[in-house]
Amino acid sequence: MNLSCLIVDDSEEFLASAARLLSVQGVTVVGRTSSGDEALRLAEALSPDVALVDVELGDEDGIDLARRLASAGSSATVILISVRDRNELSELMAGSGAAGFLRKDALDAQAVMDLILARKQADLGPGPPHAG
């Protein structure tokens, strides 16, 4: 796999450690930023396969950014991330259009890959029955 990834988070520490982990696991981190506007710019310029977006971006709203990425026509699969549990956030994330959610401490290239594949399959629909 050679996924390209954009990370959007307001914690410098997380950006550094997430980038490091994903890189050693074979993902190319093409950009990191704390700003929503910068994220849109990078997404358009670099067309990453996936964008990891923190639900709480300091003063900005990650859910809102997820929607803006979709409506800007970005091809990136958006995965929402947070230190909080999905349990606390499901009502907030509904309607964001994101492909899924990962708790930050569960970040792992394989988990990201699984979510991307699941979204692509969902997009393609049930499809014809497989032989065998």
């Binding site: 450690s17 909080r84 792992d108």
Partner: protein, 677 residues
């Protein structure tokens, strides 16, 4: 992973665990002493062998001097300190002192900073609670004395109550009731609470010039304070100092417009009486004056006086019941008009810019454009405002300017008496008649002005109380939000970064099995710490509420509730933050209690919002028997709801489930609907 990084990691975990333990104490509002002991113990433990102390910094001292002093006292030359800042001022400092030469461990200052913030939160919380308790006490005290006046108790009984309450509220044990005879200039001690220690025995007399606290009171007609008796002349002052008394405050009792006497309160020799004591004493002297003039009215002019006495008692009852000001203003106008035999009485507010507003009247307030004094009333009220004393206008011919203003609708005779609150002119009662008003009108009006003044003081105290409670609830929520924010932005991010770094290291280097196993342990520890912090953090502050409002937050509460919830909360708009927070916590607590105790099969939650306010009802079909207190967490909800001017009811008959209902007004200030005071 290199050994030293593992060491750092464990140090970081210990530090965050220590902060978390202290944060929980602060959030549970344990006594300040306990928080301080915890801060000192935890912080000292972390930076051992250095020790941590908390130092109070008085005005004038500064942080560096304090740190240097503490280093000297510990016999070392190495100390580091961070300020504890409460309400924008430096309250004190957290100082770390090292017994060994050389600098303290790196990062000590940052760690101390985190602890100092928690200490500051605890202090602010305690200060707010103390302010609230003091106001509630004062409120209760005034109400008790007003009730005695309303019941027409003898002045001595009223004074005993005043002495007891003054002792509690002002914190002084020695209170005296003193009579002053203006003609002879003699003071007579009627009654004192301090027995043999008194400078003058009950019944004793002394001239005014020998009474240091009486002199300014008689001269100005206002409360006064004497701080230092040691260089004052006369035998009374000498005995005062001999008996070990110190500062004194005194307030006048004004009956029929003249100084009848005073109430003095004395502190011990080394005691400081806080500022504002004399004003609070004055609240009581108003009521004392009413009691005395009630008694005098009874004794002197039976028939007419009884009528007036009864009228005063009816108004005093309203005051004691804390009726709304508008009710009292109209009652005063009505009772005064009957007692004095006149048709028109107005009660009004006077502002510093000279403007006046009508608050109560025998003429009824009618349409808003009728909320004005009559021209005659305005003339006499202006005179009262200028002189600060009762005034009368009978001879309009002598006042051509006024006659012009008044025109032909003027009344023939007008009398006004000032309403004094906290030593300043607050308003006026005006009496109007076509025929010349009787000579004693001014003095008889004064009784009514006392009662209005008491009622206003009550309202001020009550408003302060509500505002204080609201402030405490808000401050407590602020603290919880701040702790939650700090945990989220600080601790949680750092531990997550550590976990990811750990995972990265394991990918990068092939490691011997024992090291691998050790790292697995660390990874598990990190996960479990993160989980603990997540659970703790979620209970502190609902992050969804501020972002998305009640709809999504209540749905989340319903989803997470172990007992199924039937939620009816459609179409609730965004409301003010305190109201949304109150609604959220009421429902959250009701669901938590139901889960813990009720054994119910279902809880229904209904939220309805209209222009009047928002009403919340939670009802379960469980075993009932819930009560405020007893660890149910419901008493905190009552505070929250009442602080916003709402009401709270709990019905939980045994065997019949538990129903909680609250109603909250939507205005941001709970005193929005009051009469202007």
């Amino acid at each position: 992973m290199p050994v030293e990084s593992t060491g750092n990691l464990y140090q970081l975990l210990r530090e965050e665990a220590a902060l978390r333990r202290v944060a929980m104490l602060v959030a549970r509002e344990v006594p300040q002493r306990a928080v301080f002991d915890a801060v000192v113990a935890e912080a000292s433990d972390l930076i051992a062998p250095a020790r941590v102390q908390i130092a109070r910094i008085d005005d004038g001292a500064n942080l560096d001097e304090t740190i240097a002093r503490m280093a000297r006292e510990a016999g070392t030359d190495c100390a580091v300190g961070v300020p504890i800042v409460v309400g924008g001022t430096t309250w004190g400092a957290l100082v770390a002192v090292s017994p060994e030469p050389g600098p303290l461990a790196a990062g000590s200052t940052t760690r101390l900073g985190d602890f100092s913030q928690l200490a500051a939160s605890a202090i602010a919380s305690v200060q707010a609670r103390e302010e609230l308790r003091a106001l509630a006490d004062q409120q209760g005290a005034l109400r008790r004395v007003a009730t005695l006046v309303a019941q027409s108790a003898e002045p001595r009984a009223v004074f005993t109550a005043v002495a007891v309450e003054a002792a509690r509220i002002l914190g002084v044990g020695a209170v005296s009731l003193i009579r002053y005879d203006a003609e002879s200039g003699i003071l007579t001690k009627i009654f004192g609470t301090h027995g043999k220690r008194a400078a003058v025995p009950d019944g004793g007399q002394w001239p005014l010039e020998d009474g240091p606290e009486a002199v300014p009171v008689v001269a100005t007609g206002r409360p006064a304070r004497i701080d230092d008796w040691t260089s004052l002349p006369g035998p009374v002052a000498a005995r005062h100092v001999e008996q070990g008394f110190g500062q004194a405050v005194a307030a006048p009792i004004i009956v029929d417009g003249a100084i009848w006497g005073l109430i003095s309160a004395f502190g011990e020799a080394n005691e400081i009486l806080p500022p504002g004591c004399e004003m609070r004493l004055a609240d009581f002297t108003h009521l004392m004056a009413s009691a005395i003039s009630n008694a005098q009215a009874r004794d002197e002019l039976r028939g007419l006086a009884e009528q007036q006495g009864a009228a005063l008692r009816r108004v005093a009852t309203l005051v004691a019941q804390q009726a709304a000001p508008s009710t009292i203003f109209n009652a005063v106008a009505g009772e005064a008009s009957r007692a004095l035999g006149v048709s028109r009485v107005d009660v009004g507010r006077c502002h510093e810019d000279g403007s006046m507003a009508l608050l109560g009247s025998t003429a009824g307030l009618g349409r808003p454009d009728q909320h004005a004094f009559t021209p005659s009333g305005k003339c006499v009220a202006t005179k009262v405002m200028q002189t600060g004393r009762a005034a009368r206008i009978d001879n309009w011919a002598a006042r051509p300017a006024d006659v012009q203003a008044v025109g032909e609708q003027g009344f023939g005779s007008a009398v006004g008496a000032p309403i004094m609150v906290d030593g300043a002119l607050w308003g006026v009662i005006v009496v109007l008649a076509d025929e010349t008003l009787h000579d004693d009108t001014e003095t008889r009006l004064t009784d009514f002005t006392h009662l209005v003044a008491s009622s206003i003081s009550n309202v001020h105290a009550r408003d302060n109380l509500i505002a204080s409670r609201a402030r405490i609830v808000t401050a407590s929520d602020e603290t919880r939000r701040r702790i939650e924010r700090n945990l989220h932005d600080g601790v949680q991010q750092r531990i997550v970064a550590l976990a990811l770094n750990l995972r990265a290291v394991r990918v990068m280097s092939p490691l011997p099995d024992e090291v691998q196993a050790g790292l697995d342990d660390v990874a598990r520890d990190l996960e479990s710490v993160l989980e603990e912090i997540r659970v703790f953090s979620q209970g502190l502050h609902p992050v969804l509420l501020a972002r998305s409002g009640l709809g999504p937050s209540l749905r989340a509460l319903a989803r997470r509730s172990p007992i199924p919830v039937r939620l009816n909360a459609a179409g609730i708009p965004r409301l003010s933050e305190p109201v949304e927070t109150a609604v959220y916590y009421v429902i959250s607590e009701a669901l938590a209690n139901a889960a813990k105790h009720s054994q119910a099969s279902e809880v229904s939650v209904t939220v309805v919002c209209d222009t009047a306010g928002v009403r919340v009802t939670t009802a379960d079909d469980g075993v009932g028997g819930a009560a405020l207190g007893q660890g149910s967490g419901l008493i905190g909800l009552v505070d929250r709801v009442e602080a916003l001017g709402g009401w709270f009811t709990l019905e939980s008959p045994s065997g019949h489930g538990t129903t909680i209902s609250i109603e909250l007004p939507l205005g941001s200030s709970p005193t929005d609907e009051r009469a202007p005071v």
